[in-house]
Amino acid sequence: IMCASAKYNSRGPALIPRMKTKHRIYYITLFSIVLLGLIATGMFQFWPHSIESSSDWTVEKRSVHDVPVVKLPADSPIPERGDLSCRMHTCFDVYRCGFNPKNKIKVYIYSLKKYVDEYGTSVSNTISREYNELLTAISDSEFYTDDVNRACLFVPSIDVLNQNALRIKETAQALAQLSRWDRGTNHLLFNMLPGGPPDYNTALDVPRDRALLAGGGFSTWTYRQGYDVSIPVYSPLSGEVDLPERGPGPRRYFILSSQMALHPEYRLELEALQAENGESVLILDKCTNLSEGVPAVRKRCYKNQVFDYPQVLQESTFCVVLRGARLGQAVLSDVLQAGCVPVIIADSYILPFSEVLDWKRASVVIPEEKMPEMYSILQSIPQRQIEEMQRQARWFWEAYFRSMKAIALATLQIINDRIYPYAAISYEEWNDPPAVKWSSVSNPLFLPLIPPQSQGFTAIVLTYDRVESLFRVITEVSKVPSLSKLLVVWNNQNKNPPEDSLWPKIRVPLKVVRTAENKLSNRFFPYDEIETEAVLAIDDDIIMLTSDELQFGYEVWREFPDRLVGYPGRLHLWDHEMNKWKYESEWTNEVSMVLTGAAFYHKYFNYLYTYKMPGDIKNWVDAHMNCEDIAMNFLVANVTGKSVIKVTPRKKFKCPECTAIDGLSLDQTHMVERSECINKFASVFGTMPLKVVEHRADPVLYKDDFPEKLKSFPNIGSL
């Protein structure tokens, strides 16, 4: 079975396919493939093509009034009432959905019909504007299928958004005669205004048997957790009024109530709050003396003052959303749109999409009994948090409330997540506004583990042809107590590595990997041979590092396993004249990078470098034969949000006489190239992830007045 996931390639570029001498077999297979291809194309040429007959669906120019009429006999069957014990594992036929590589459910929409009773009176309005938008959105989405046999979920085109607009019994009969009804199994109904006078049930009253209900205004007693989906009540104002996003911050009013038909009891409570706290509480009501032609729904009044609705909502920090006869209120959508923090006072209400949305981040829920304490409760919320709630409220509206499309897709995604839980959308994706998604990091190595010392590390030496110096490095590194394996990446395709007998004899296994191409990225391949978490990347000319320095570096890495821990430190700077980033290799008081010519890091970053490097950075590095180390610094900083750690004062690595700045050369072109790299990477990452710090790690007793022989790491060079 095919996985949708990228396959983890466990073999490296190290393997050069061994050409076998049996060319013939290759050619014969190739030839037969070509021949087969030819035959196949020929077959196609003469195959009678059946063009799908354009059914009535494709006729573009059609009115809703032209749809077929279905007459429902008075005695046609009625489904059972909704079953309150339904759960996905009892009432949902999951076999219809099957395992598929995309992990997407398939949704079928019944074609639109007009239902009339025996006397020809219509059962309901054929379809409302909103339901039509909702179905259009589903049909345009990747969930949609027009093949009823492949469908996993069925959406009737019978519009039950508003219970008041339909005849309950007849609508139920219409549902029951749907071709795949089967007791409502895998059918999804959308309803926003449930119930009716006098008792206002909190779920749709139409008998619907096992059908799932996406309902607005569920109470905790009618909501079947994990089966139904709680959706918002759509506010048509969302489409009509454009409220530009207002930056978070304090607003003119602290609490505002804008609902018109509040129960007198609630109104009394609110007025008591106003009397106590004065101007900061504003309680609006409908306007009594509006001139003709002014829509009452767009105005609100307080005494003689007239306010525009919903604009006035933007003037307040908190906006009260009280229950009416129903629990779900369209005003919630308006409030969120205005970036006002909703104060939800509706006991037992299941908030929209509460299965996935973390409403604590965007709203304040207050029990009805506690209404008198509302002011003090809200006062206790710190300003920083209020601002975040304002942003969050607006984001919820933009993502999940603003259109019928948003509501429909969120509903389907929730059901999809239940059926394919292992491919479900994460909490962060549901809840984090884009700005937070952008600025926050989730460290892939988030568990605070200090890896056991006994694991040791694997040293990887990338080499081309400097055998003599390579052997010196090997000999030096092999003295480090925690070294557990040495891997030489032989990047020279024109020359064989020295014979086995010539290599230095060391106490740990030494492996040579030959690469297929001379690429810098070979150094960062997650070779299977690396069995430790820690990797020491070291160049074949770094001979100055002492065993104590390396062992200490490993100990430091163990305390910071999610960082690059290395010896040569570098810095990036903003060049104000050129208006771009600049690479700095002078001795500075700060570091933001460590070069991977000598650095410890977690093997996981090899995996990331090889498979998850953003953009074309990896190829760019290989093409330019430079900056692989800067790329690694960017990658690690970007994914962890943390700085590098430079260990020990060491600044000379190749020879005692060398200038402090190692590397290819001191010359200008080198610096320019490195600066180029930083600018290039910053643009690919879309940000500058590198973190500047002023510290380096030294052994606890470094340079302390203390007998050297009692120090764990006495041999720490000073330059």
């Binding site: 999951v94 409302s128 029990p367 190595l445 510290h695 052994p699």
Partner: protein, 759 residues
């Protein structure tokens, strides 16, 4: 050979050409055809009159929802009687008013004589009694816990308690079960294992294992994990994940080893598990051998299965597999769940309708694969398709959850209590984010804040950073009622820092602090708080501290402005840790079989003295609110080791060592101990009281008994803390952070912190 090659090559070329001519055309057509087909997909029609369609509801109808005839108060009153029993909710079956005056307090009925409770229930009761919410007075309680062991309600079991109804009736506080919490691990019995408890629970909440979603009352009950009677009371073993590897370097992909039920409830799933066994990376072993009469129901597979079963060891499989199947047993939950969680073996749940433990708080989709019993055969391909990075995240999350909520009875019980407490004040409760990110909900006090940016743990995930200034918090114990020279110098040095926002002095002497005129003039505001003489007060969350960072100081410490500046810059990189100057360390004393403590020069450190250290102000709240009063009393009683306790606390929260930064030189030993304030103020030994490991110098000897008494006090204290926590939270570090050019041979002019190097 050559000619043949040529021929082959030619044919090859010719066929490609042919393919190109005919096929290319064909392919184009095919593409067109498929394009036409896509267009022919029967989408929902674009009605010509769609813009004329009426809205689903009149705007007026939406905005003026309802008929205001039914009074909300009357409705709520009607609910009280309508929604009882299986439809209980907090609104209808819980009396919030009991929790208003005294907050969330839990009362455990006194144990009754002659009524032994099981080991597990005993642990639960002890956990509650250890909790900071426990109260011995029923009149101030918000929640009540019965003394009757209700864990095992299988009436065939030996621990089944009879006549619970009757016993309950004898409790005057029962009140129909209102505000009671009943713990239960096993309910029902052969053959159907129904959820019956066998007594009337009234309006009581249930905290129960193997909860099924049918009988679970959302927002009212709490689902807890099944745990064994060996489950430790506190601390608990750590998880088994020691390394993060991608791809997961484990021998097996998916394993199961357990009973196969031949008949009865749960047999459907258990009977099918052998189908996915492939003998290579998927090991699914079942045995029929259990119960008395298994041979009666024995089928053809049994003998082979039983033989295979013996070939693998359960623990070995657990250790060496990436995923572990956790199917339902007779009941929905199993011990296996926690075992897999601890082993970092990602649980693959096959238990339809199981209300997962603490699902109200915990997002299980990050730590477990919730499979469907009906789709068992898809499980292998589904888990194979999970990306290696995701597997790594899953594994880490299992470890975090295990350690935060499940590793001991204390944690399970405290999580239950915190979930209930969160319901009482929804506006002051933890968001799902706080529950599911390190260090976990128990260590997040909503009374401190519910905003992630206010805690030291979430800066990166939250995309924010700690405040750019700090508060210097000096504990003054000067004897004379006037200001000593060291404290004046200290105030000068600290106020000279560009990052200092304010100075707060905690005056811990009986004598009143000097009048404001006597204090030195500083560039930053200076506040004096009159403290009580308790040592633990120095970590009280004073309102006056307004910055994230606190620089805690003893008055006799000597610091320079550079040191403070550098240390603060370092702290900003490690806001969740203690960053400071003088350090000490702990070690395991194998000879005495206990934890040892040393203040000598060592190559390691695990304690940073709070006599001079930066840390996040939230730790003041944790210290005062989270730690049990007993520990603070210990510190106050000893008048010592408050700094060790703070270090232990921070290490327990972060699992990380503190950080030592460069110290200019060894501080001179403070001349005289601040004795005038009495021993109550003696507190920490003077910073820098670190003597070389050589036998005590003459000076140290001269100090004599006072020093050694303090030393043994601290040693004892460390021992007691380790005992209370159930393990040793302190973590050692081998490094010190210095400025990048510290003591390098470069011009002093180029160094940012040259003063740190002056002798």
């Amino acid at each position: 050979m050559q000619t043949r090659k040529k021929y082959i090559f030619l044919t090859f070329l010719a066929s490609w050409l042919l393919l190109f001519f005919f096929g290319g055309d064909q392919l184009r057509r095919f593409a067109l055809f498929s394009g036409r087909k896509a267009r022919a997909r029967r989408n929902w029609p674009r009605w010509t009159d769609r813009s004329l369609l009426k809205s689903f509801a009149d705007p007026e109808e939406l905005q003026r929802d309802g008929d205001p005839s039914l009074s909300p108060r009357a409705r709520r009153a009607a609910w009280l009687s309508a929604y009882q029993g299986s439809r209980c909710r907090m609104e209808t079956c819980f009396d919030f008013s009991r929790c208003e005056k005294h907050g969330f307090k839990v009362f455990t009925y006194p144990r009754q004589r002659g009524q032994p409770v099981s080991e597990s229930y005993g642990k639960i009761l002890r956990s509650i009694e250890r909790s900071r919410y426990h109260t011995p007075r029923p009149e101030e309680a918000c929640l009540f816990i019965l003394p009757i062991d209700t864990l095992d309600r299988d009436h065939l079991s030996g621990q089944y308690v009879r006549d619970v109804d009757e016993k309950i009736r004898g409790f005057p506080l029962w009140n129909g079960g209102r505000n009671h919490l009943i713990f239960n691990l096993y309910s029902g019995t052969w053959p159907d294992y129904s959820g019956e408890l066998g007594f009337d629970t009234g309006q009581a909440m249930l905290a129960r294992a193997s909860f099924d979603s049918d009988s679970f009352r959302p927002g009212f009950d709490v689902s807890i994990p099944l745990f064994s009677k060996e489950h430790p009371q506190r601390a608990g073993d750590r998880g088994w994940l020691y390394q993060d590897s991608v791809p997961p370097r484990k021998k097996y992909l998916l394993v199961f080893k357990g009973k196969r039920y031949l008949t009865g409830i749960g047999s459907g799933t258990r009977n099918a598990l052998h189908h996915i066994h492939n003998g290579r990376d998927i090991i699914s072993l079942t045995t029929c051998k259990h119960g008395k009469d298994w041979e009666k129901h024995k089928d053809t597979r049994c003998d082979q299965d039983n033989a295979d079963y013996e070939k693998f060891d359960y623990r070995e499989l657990l250790h060496n597999s990436t995923f572990c199947i956790v199917p339902r047993g007779r009941r929905l939950g199993s011990f296996r769940f926690l075992e897999a969680l601890q082993a970092a073996c990602i649980p693959v749940l096959l238990s339809d309708g199981w209300e997962l433990p603490f699902a109200e708080a915990i997002d299980w989709s990050r730590a477990a694969v919730v499979g469907s019993e009906r789709l068992l055969l898809q499980i292998p391909s589904a888990v194979r398709c999970i990306h290696p990075e995701r597997v790594l995240a899953f594994q880490q999350q299992t470890q975090f959850l295990w350690d935060a909520y499940f590793s001991s009875v204390d944690k399970i019980v405290h999580t239950t209590l915190e979930i209930i407490k969160d319901r009482l004040t929804p506006h002051r409760s933890r968001s799902r984010f706080l529950w599911n990110a390190l260090p976990g909900g128990l260590l997040v006090l909503p009374d401190f804040s519910t905003h992630p940016g206010d805690f030291p743990f979430y800066y990166l995930q939250h995309g924010s950073s700690p405040s750019e200034k700090f508060t210097a918090f000096i504990r003054a114990v000067s004897q004379a009622g006037s200001l000593s020279q060291p404290i004046l110098r200290l105030i000068q040095a600290v106020s000279g820092s560009q990052y200092c926002a304010q100075i707060v002095v905690l005056w811990s002497c009986e004598k009143p602090p000097p009048p404001s005129g006597k204090w030195p003039q500083t560039a930053v505001p200076l506040t004096v708080i009159q403290g009580r003489r308790r040592l633990s007060d120095r970590f009280f969350p004073f309102e006056a501290i307004r910055t994230d960072a606190v620089l805690s100081l003893d008055e006799h410490i000597s610091l320079s402005t550079s040191e403070v500046d550098f240390a603060f810059v370092v702290w900003r990189s490690f806001p969740e840790r203690i960053v400071g100057f003088p350090t000490q360390s702990h070690f395991w004393d194998a000879e005495q079989g206990r934890w040892g403590y040393t203040s000598r020069w060592t190559n390691e450190l695990s304690i940073v003295l709070t006599a001079a250290a930066f840390y996040h102000r939230y730790y003041h709240s944790l210290f005062t609110e989270y730690l049990p009063a007993g520990l603070r009393e210990l510190v106050d009683g000893l008048a010592a080791c408050e700094d060790i306790l703070m270090n232990v606390l921070v290490a327990a929260v972060t699992k990380l060592p503190p950080i030592k930064v460069t110290q200019r030189k060894q501080h001179k030993e403070a001349e005289a101990q601040p004795a005038a304030c009495g021993d109550g103020a003696a507190g920490t030994p003077p910073a820098g009281q670190r003597s070389p490991p050589a036998p005590h110098s003459a000076a140290a000897k001269a100090k004599g008994t006072a020093g050694s008494r303090r030393f043994s006090q601290r040693q004892d204290c460390l021992h007691q803390l380790a005992d209370w926590f159930g393990y040793m939270p302190l973590v050692s570090s081998q490094l010190r952070l210095d400025p990048v050019l510290f003591k390098d041979q470069v011009s002093v002019l180029r160094k940012k912190y040259p003063r740190l190097e002056k002798p």
